[in-house]
């Protein structure tokens, strides 16, 4: 906990950090790797740098990228009842609400479970690759990272995974249900997405985008 009380305005603005949830202001002091700077008032984590976090995030992001693409197209679940067989991919599930006003719902579902997570991964890689390689940031990297942060609450892959479990139980007594390869891909994907979010220290990314020459964090 590196919070220091600041009382005077004559501190340089660069030396201040403001908690985004409760607006408490602190004099900035960078915690060491593995330590965390936490807002004293509302206990929000402000800075949590880790060693080689950039590399870890990139590795996870790359894995997520391929898993999403794979999971979207391979068969996800198969159903078998009295000789009738049906296999669906996640894309099929997302586009299940077709026809009439339901098309809106199709598009929204597809966006929430495939396109938003995919877009976030691509944006993350776009922003972090130059940072990790100690190069100047890519063009519009700042805007890209902002967009990716704005999309965070709308990325619902993990919720879809639990939804699958519920759906499975619902049909289990109606027909025989089997798992396709995409089901397992999706399971791994969910774990990785959660891991990626917990590695990411937003402050470190902003800082490295602003001062590209500083060491990676």
């Amino acid at each position: 906990m590196k919070d220091v009380v600041s009382s005077e305005l004559d501190v340089e603005l660069d030396g201040l950090i403001v908690c985004p949830t409760c607006d408490a202001t602190y004099r900035f002091e960078k915690p060491a790797n593995g330590e965390r700077a936490v807002c004293q008032r509302c206990h929000k984590v402000l800075i949590a740098p880790r060693r080689n976090a950039g590399l870890h995030i990139l590795a996870v992001a790359l894995a997520v990228f391929f898993l999403i693409i794979g999971a979207a197209f391979f068969p996800f679940l198969t159903i078998d009842a009295a000789g009738n067989r049906n296999a669906v991919s996640i894309l099929d599930a997302a586009l299940a609400f077709s026809g009439g006003p339901m098309i809106f719902l199709s598009l929204a579902t597809a966006a929430l479970i495939i396109f938003v997570p995919l877009a976030r991964v691509i944006l993350t890689m776009y922003v972090l690759v130059p940072v990790v390689l100690d190069r100047p940031p890519a063009r519009h990297a700042i805007r890209a990272f902002r967009l990716s942060e704005a999309m965070r609450p709308w990325s619902m892959a993990e919720i879809f995974a639990i939804g699958c479990a519920v759906a499975l139980v619902k049909v289990a007594d109606l027909a025989h249900v089997g798992f396709g390869p995409a089901f397992w891909m999706f399971g791994v994907l969910v774990v990785l997405v959660v891991a990626q979010d917990s590695f990411m220290c937003k402050w470190s990314v902003w800082n490295s985008l602003e001062h590209p020459k500083t060491k990676r964090s």
Binding site: L13, V18, N84, W206, E210
Partner: protein
């Protein structure tokens, strides 16, 4: 203190700066009309939540009969089959969480204006829980999507989404927007105005 903070990248700027030079986010000391937007989305969400419970969520067609079940009806039916766990998940995700969210957002918005004997920290936690858990209500929509894509066995059985699914999705989206519109810094303002324990941190 004469500074305004960027909520996206935590950088401090002199008061009056329009956009953050670091990340380009629009800077506002407090979101203007935050509470108005909260209430507008809140009402929209509630309006959508009513038809979501009245109309059928799923249309199940088996060999000889067509069944239409609402959210609660479907959960009760599952419970009758003995799957209490799943019935509980559905009831919690699509009834308890949305209703709890309506209550929590309304409480937070009212408590900014009026006095309640709930500490700021409690309210902050409540806000974070609401923001985190709100997305999980989408689970019912995903279940409907999976079921209606999967169970298409020609004459034998098929499941199709009902009208309620649209309203339910809209309700979840509007309540998420409502929670996002709430400026959590308002929670702490009341305390700072009193000259309460916030003093030592400023």
């Amino acid at each position: 203190m004469g500074i305004v903070a960027c909520r996206r990248c935590t950088k401090a700027q002199p008061l009056g700066t329009q956009t953050c030079p670091r990340c380009g986010h629009v800077l506002q000391s407090r979101e203007p009309l935050s509470l108005q937007r909260v209430w507008a989305f809140w009402v929209l969400g509630l309006m959508c939540y009513i038809p979501a419970n009245i109309y059928p969520m799923l249309k199940t067609r088996t060999l000889f009969k067509v069944e239409e079940s609402t959210i609660i009806g479907g959960a009760v039916e599952i419970a009758h089959h003995g799957n209490f766990g799943i019935a509980a998940i559905i009831l919690i995700a699509s009834v308890v969480i949305p209703l709890g969210k309506f209550w929590a957002v309304a409480f937070l918005a009212i408590s900014v204006k009026q006095r309640y004997k709930v500490t700021n920290h409690r309210r902050q936690i409540l806000y974070e829980v609401v923001e985190y858990i709100g997305r999980w209500s989408m689970i019912d929509i995903f279940v409907v999507a999976i079921l209606s894509a999967l169970v298409q066995l020609k004459t034998l059985a098929s499941i199709n989404p009902g009208v309620a699914s649209i309203f339910f999705a809209l309700s979840v989206i509007f309540t998420m927007l409502s929670a996002q519109a709430f400026d959590s810094r308002l929670i702490w303002d009341a305390e700072a105005k009193d000259g309460g324990p916030a003093r030592d941190e400023r």
